[in-house]
Amino acid sequence: MNKEARGKVGRILLLVGRLALAVIFLYAAYAKMKPAGTMPWSVASVRTSLAMFALGVDSYNMLPPWAVSPVAYLLPPFELFLGLWLLSGIGLRFSSLVSALLVGGFVGVMVSAYERGLTISCGCFGPGEQVGPRTLIRDGLLFLPLALGVMIGAFVTGRKPSASAASTEIPAAHSAE
């Protein structure tokens, strides 16, 4: 496989990874904000869902009481924003860096809860899912490598000029000499 073909495959993989990461964040935001049970979509029902998410955040026993609600109310909208940002592809190096840091943070918090023997709801994709080997494997061995891969890919392709751009630049450089 020549350099150009490799570059093309890399860009396709980056696109697929970026879209997958965007979908994960969008779904995570939706699952946290969707009205519980059969409640209709409204500002009040979304607020209730976020208040329910706050119960999950509090059960991690990591934040002081005053910080629980701000984190619980800001995190899902931020995930929504991050999902849309990744989807747009604008400033991918920065969006992928933020995504990797966020996923890394989630994994760290879950490992800490698991180590402390807390059998609590993960809160990753709404209520009901327990922190345990399954969620740790999923987030740590699937989502985190994906986020890291997208970040590395974004930095590599962002720094290197594309093959076609390079081929036009070199003669120009030669002609200047």
């Binding site: 509090d58 709801s121 209520p127």
Partner: protein, 257 residues
């Protein structure tokens, strides 16, 4: 009363829904009868407690393990184990202030559900004492005593001492009568699901087993696990410790719907 709570919380099957109008009329008639007989109830309470004092364990009513009014808009069921430290923290730091505030104000009906874990040596027996106390109307005192003194009785298994200190001698005599034949260890939730029965079963055990089965249906993975029902709509279960200010915020959000 506990049986009524089960009925309202469980999802109803279709044939039951079809019978609902008749059931509603029957309930309304019962309520009307209850209102008509209310003045006589106080005088009957003393007679009833006298009957309890002499009743056999099997003749006692089902345990009353609810705090507050069953008609409150929010029902919170807590599956807990008296020997679990996080259940104690939840009770001491969250449920106590909640009982004094939102339960007293009629906003929340708190229901205790037993989920004694197999790994805890005395949790099944502690659940028996709490249920025995609940059968004679002394659940609140017993639950408080069990959690307040958890560190002591979990070391030596002497639960009886703290139950006796939490109530009058007469009440404790009634609780002891309800505990007839209940020798340790009590029943627990089986490690692989189901109920692990006591090698020496007694009349209280079916009430504990009923709670365990309800928990397994959820399913309860750990204690404490809580389920909140708002105006008949059951929300997804949560587990672990949650502080009172955060829980209160959630209740306020529900009540503002």
């Amino acid at each position: 009363m506990i049986q009524h709570t089960y009925g309202s919380l469980d999802t109803q099957s279709r044939p039951r829904q079809a019978r609902r109008p008749r059931a509603a009329h029957f309930l309304m008639a019962l309520c009307a009868l209850g209102l008509a007989l209310a003045p006589a109830a106080n005088s009957q309470t003393k007679q009833a407690s006298a009957r309890h004092a002499s009743a056999k364990p099997s003749e006692l009513p089902a345990p009353q393990k609810g705090y507050g009014s069953a008609s409150a808009p929010i029902v919170m069921e807590v599956f807990s184990d008296y020997q679990c430290p996080m259940c104690r923290n939840l009770f001491e730091q969250t449920l106590r202030p909640m009982i004094a505030d939102y339960v007293a104000a009629g906003k929340v009906y708190l229901v205790h559900r037993d989920f004694p874990l197999a790994g805890h040596l005395y949790s099944g027996q502690a659940a028996r004492w709490a249920n025995a106390a609940a059968r004679v109307g002394k659940f609140e005192a017993a639950e408080g005593a069990l959690y307040d003194n958890q560190a002591t009785w979990e070391a030596n298994g002497n639960i009886e001492k703290f139950i006796s200190e939490a109530m009058s001698a007469a009440d404790f005599a009634r609780v002891q009568r309800a505990m007839q034949g209940c020798e340790a260890p009590g029943p627990t939730a089986g490690a692989t699901g189901g109920v692990m029965p006591s090698p020496k079963p007694c009349a209280i055990d079916p009430f504990i087993a009923e709670d365990i089965m309800l928990g397994l249906k959820l399913p309860v993975h750990a204690t404490p696990t809580y389920v909140i029902t708002y105006k008949g709509q059951r929300l997804p279960a949560g587990s672990g410790f949650v502080s009172w200010p955060i829980l209160k915020q959630f209740f306020d959000s529900l009540l503002s719907q």
